[in-house]
C-alpha cells in the first residue's frame, strides 16, 4: 500500500500561502481555523527560508498516543484521521503535536474548544466517502476521487509535494540532484523517523532531517 506523506522543499517555497488558501477553499474552512500554515525562518535577512506545515501524518503519531478518547485512527495509506463524533475537544493532541497541526474552532473559556480539526490529507473521515456528512465534518475526500491533497496540487512552485512517500522521494531526489543541494527533508525525521508498528521512545533530540532520502521513508528504518 502507498504510504502518504508530505514534503516541503524549502529551496522552492516562496511563502505565497497558496497551500493555506487551497485548503481553505477546498474544505470550506472558516475564518480562524487553518489546517496548514507557512512559517518563515530568518524573515527578511539572507538565509530566509519558508516551510509549509500541517499534519504530517506521522508514523508514530503523538496525537493518537495521547488522545484520552482514542478518537484517532490510521488508514491503510498511513493517513492519520480522527472521528469528530468521539472527539471531546480536550486539546491534548494540540499539546503533543510537534507540527502544531490540531486546530480548534474556538478558544473559549472553560476549555471549550469545539471538536478538533486538522488536515485529513484530503481523505475525509469515517463517514461514507464523498457523503455530505463527511464533507460537513471533514471536508472533501479527494483520495476517494483519485486526487491528492489540494494544497500540494496547487503549490505555486511545486515546493509542497503530497502523495506516496516513495514517489515523492523520487521526485525530490531528482530535484536535489539537479541542484546539488538542499536535500534536507524538513520534518521527515520527526514525522516518519519512528517506524510504524514498533513502539519506540520519542527522541527530543530528533535531528532536523535526514540527508537525501535514499528510500521512501527518509533514509531511516
Amino acid at each position: 500500500m502507498a504510504r502518504m506523506k508530505f514534503i516541503c522543499d524549502a529551496e522552492r517555497c516562496i511563502e505565497c500561502n497558496s497551500c493555506v488558501v487551497a485548503c481553505k477553499q477546498e474544505h470550506n474552512i472558516p475564518w480562524g481555523v487553518n489546517r496548514r500554515r507557512v512559517v518563515t525562518l530568518n524573515d527578511g535577512v539572507p538565509g530566509e527560508r519558508s516551510i509549509s506545515a500541517a499534519c504530517m501524518h506521522c508514523s508514530d503519531a503523538p496525537c493518537m498516543a495521547v488522545c484520552p478518547v482514542d478518537c484517532f485512527y490510521k488508514t491503510a495509506d498511513g493517513v492519520v484521521l480522527h472521528d469528530k463524533d468521539l472527539c471531546i475537544g480536550c486539546g491534548y493532541c494540540f499539546y503533543a503535536c510537534p507540527f502544531g497541526a490540531p486546530q480548534f474552532p474556538q478558544d473559549g473559556a472553560f476549555g471549550l474548544r469545539g471538536k478538533m480539526d486538522k488536515c485529513t490529507f484530503c481523505a475525509g473521515g469515517p463517514e461514507p466517502d464523498g457523503s455530505e456528512a463527511e464533507f460537513q465534518k471533514y471536508g472533501r475526500n479527494r483520495l476517494a476521487e483519485g486526487k491528492l491533497p489540494a494544497c500540494a496540487e496547487m503549490c505555486s512552485t511545486k515546493a509542497l509535494l503530497g502523495g506516496d512517500g516513495d514517489v515523492l522521494a523520487d521526485i525530490y531526489r531528482q530535484r536535489a540532484m539537479a541542484r546539488g543541494k538542499g536535500s534536507e527533508v524538513w520534518g521527515w525525521a520527526t514525522a516518519y523517523g519512528r517506524p510504524e508498528g514498533k513502539p519506540s521512545a520519542p527522541r527530543p533530540q530528533d535531528k532536523p532531517g535526514p540527508k537525501a532520502p535514499a528510500n521512501g521513508n527518509g533514509g531511516k528504518s
Binding site: N34, L41, G47, C67, P68, V69, Y92, Y95, P98, G100
Partner: protein, 352 residues
C-alpha cells in the same frame, strides 16, 4: 460569611496574577544568544551560500518565526516539548495510577486489620458543637466539587484504558465529554471555594507543640484497643497534615495549573500548558489519594466522625477520646467559634 466576598475577590486575584505571570513569562524577547545565532546564520549565508544547516538547526529551537497565519504559536515550526510531554506523561500516569491503587489497597488492608476506630467509652449524650453551620456547608460544597473533579479527572486520565474497553467508543466518548465539561466547569467553582475553605479552617490547623508527640506515635492509631490515643487539639496532627497537603499544597497547585489549562484564551503557549498539565496530573492524583484517606477516616474508619460534619455535633466521649485538648478547652470555655463560645447541648435537648 461576611468575609466571603473579600475572599472570593482574593481568589480571583490569585488566579489572575498567576495567569498574568504565565503570560508574561512567554513574551518573546530576543536575547543576546538568539541574536548571536541569527548573526551567525547571516554570516554563513554569505560565506557558504547554499549551506542551510544553520537554518535547519534553527527549526528545532521552536521559537517564534514569522507566519501569515494567525493563531497561537502558528509561527513555531516544530515544538519538541510536545514529544517530551508525551514521553513524560506515560510514566507519570502509570506511576500515579499505581500509587492510587496501592493507596486504596492500603486503606482496605488497614480497615481489615484494624477495623473502625470505636468509642472506648459509652456516649454520655452530651453533645458538643464541633463545626458551625457555615463550616459544614462550606465543607460539603467543596467536598462535592473535589470529588467531582477527582472522579472526572480519573475518567479523563484512565478512562481510555479502563472504561473504553467496557463501554465502547460511542458511550465512552459521551462519558468522557461529560467528564471533561464537568471538570472544566466545576474547576473554577473549586478555585473560588478553596481559599475560603482554607481561611475558614486555618486557625484550627496551625501546628502546636502538642502535635509533635502525636506525629511521633502516629496518634496511637496503630493500637487496636484505641486506648493509647495521643491528646490533640480541635484537629489532630494527622488532620492538620491532611489540611496542608490536600487543601493548601495540592489544592492551590491544582487550582493554578487547572486555570492555565481551563482558560486557553490567554495566549499561553503549549509548553506552559504541557507543564501545567503535568503538574496538574501529579497534583490531581495526589489529591484523590488524600481524598480517599480523608473519606475513609471521616466515614467507616472512625465511629462518630461522620456525625461531626453531618450534624455539626459530637458526643462528649468522642471529643474526649479523639481531641482531648480541644475538649478540655471547650469545657473550660477557652475554645470558641470565632466570636462566640462553642455550644454544648445537654442530653435530651435538641440540637441548636
Amino acid at each position: 460569611m461576611r468575609n466571603s466576598s473579600i475572599l472570593s475577590a482574593a481568589a480571583v486575584w490569585v488566579a489572575t496574577l498567576s495567569l498574568a505571570g504565565a503570560a508574561v513569562a512567554q513574551t518573546p524577547a530576543l536575547n543576546p544568544e538568539d541574536a548571536q545565532r541569527a548573526r551567525a546564520q547571516q554570516q554563513r549565508q554569505r560565506t557558504q551560500p547554499g549551506n542551510d544547516a544553520p537554518v535547519w538547526r534553527d527549526v528545532r529551537y521552536g521559537e517564534p518565526k514569522v507566519s501569515a497565519v494567525r493563531g497561537r504559536e502558528t509561527d513555531v515550526l516544530i515544538q519538541s516539548e510536545g514529544q517530551t510531554w508525551r514521553a513524560a506523561r506515560v510514566p507519570m500516569a502509570t506511576t500515579g495510577g499505581f500509587v492510587f491503587a496501592l493507596a486504596l489497597l492500603g486503606i482496605l488492608g488497614f480497615y481489615l486489620w484494624r477495623g473502625p476506630i470505636e468509642l472506648t467509652e459509652p456516649p454520655t449524650g452530651r453533645r458538643i458543637e464541633r463545626f458551625t453551620r457555615a463550616q459544614r456547608i462550606m465543607h460539603w460544597t467543596l467536598a462535592i466539587a473535589f470529588t467531582t473533579l477527582g472522579v472526572t479527572g480519573l475518567i479523563i486520565t484512565f478512562g481510555k484504558n479502563v472504561l473504553l474497553p467496557v463501554f465502547g467508543y460511542s458511550v465512552f466518548s459521551v462519558v468522557a465529554m461529560a467528564a471533561k465539561i464537568l471538570h472544566n466547569f466545576v474547576g473554577p467553582v473549586f478555585v473560588v471555594l478553596l481559599p475560603i475553605m482554607i481561611v475558614m479552617f486555618l486557625k484550627s490547623n496551625l501546628f502546636k507543640s502538642y502535635d509533635w508527640p502525636w506525629i511521633k506515635r502516629f496518634g496511637g492509631m496503630m493500637d487496636r484497643t484505641g486506648r493509647s490515643e495521643v491528646p490533640s487539639g480541635k484537629a489532630n496532627a494527622g488532620q492538620k497534615i491532611l489540611f496542608w497537603l490536600m487543601l493548601v499544597a495540592v489544592g492551590i497547585t491544582a487550582a493554578i495549573t487547572g486555570l492555565i489549562l481551563d482558560f486557553p484564551n490567554f495566549d499561553q503557549t503549549r509548553q506552559t500548558m504541557q507543564i501545567a498539565n503535568g503538574i496538574h496530573m501529579v497534583a490531581g492524583i495526589g489529591g484523590v489519594i488524600l481524598l480517599a484517606f480523608h473519606i475513609y477516616l471521616g466515614t467507616v474508619g472512625m465511629r462518630g466522625a461522620y456525625d461531626a460534619m453531618r450534624h455539626g455535633y459530637v458526643d462528649e466521649s468522642w471529643a474526649k477520646q479523639h481531641h482531648r485538648i480541644w475538649y478540655e478547652d471547650v469545657m473550660s470555655g477557652k475554645a470558641s467559634h470565632g466570636d462566640r463560645p462553642v455550644k454544648v447541648v445537654e442530653p435530651g435537648r435538641g440540637a441548636a
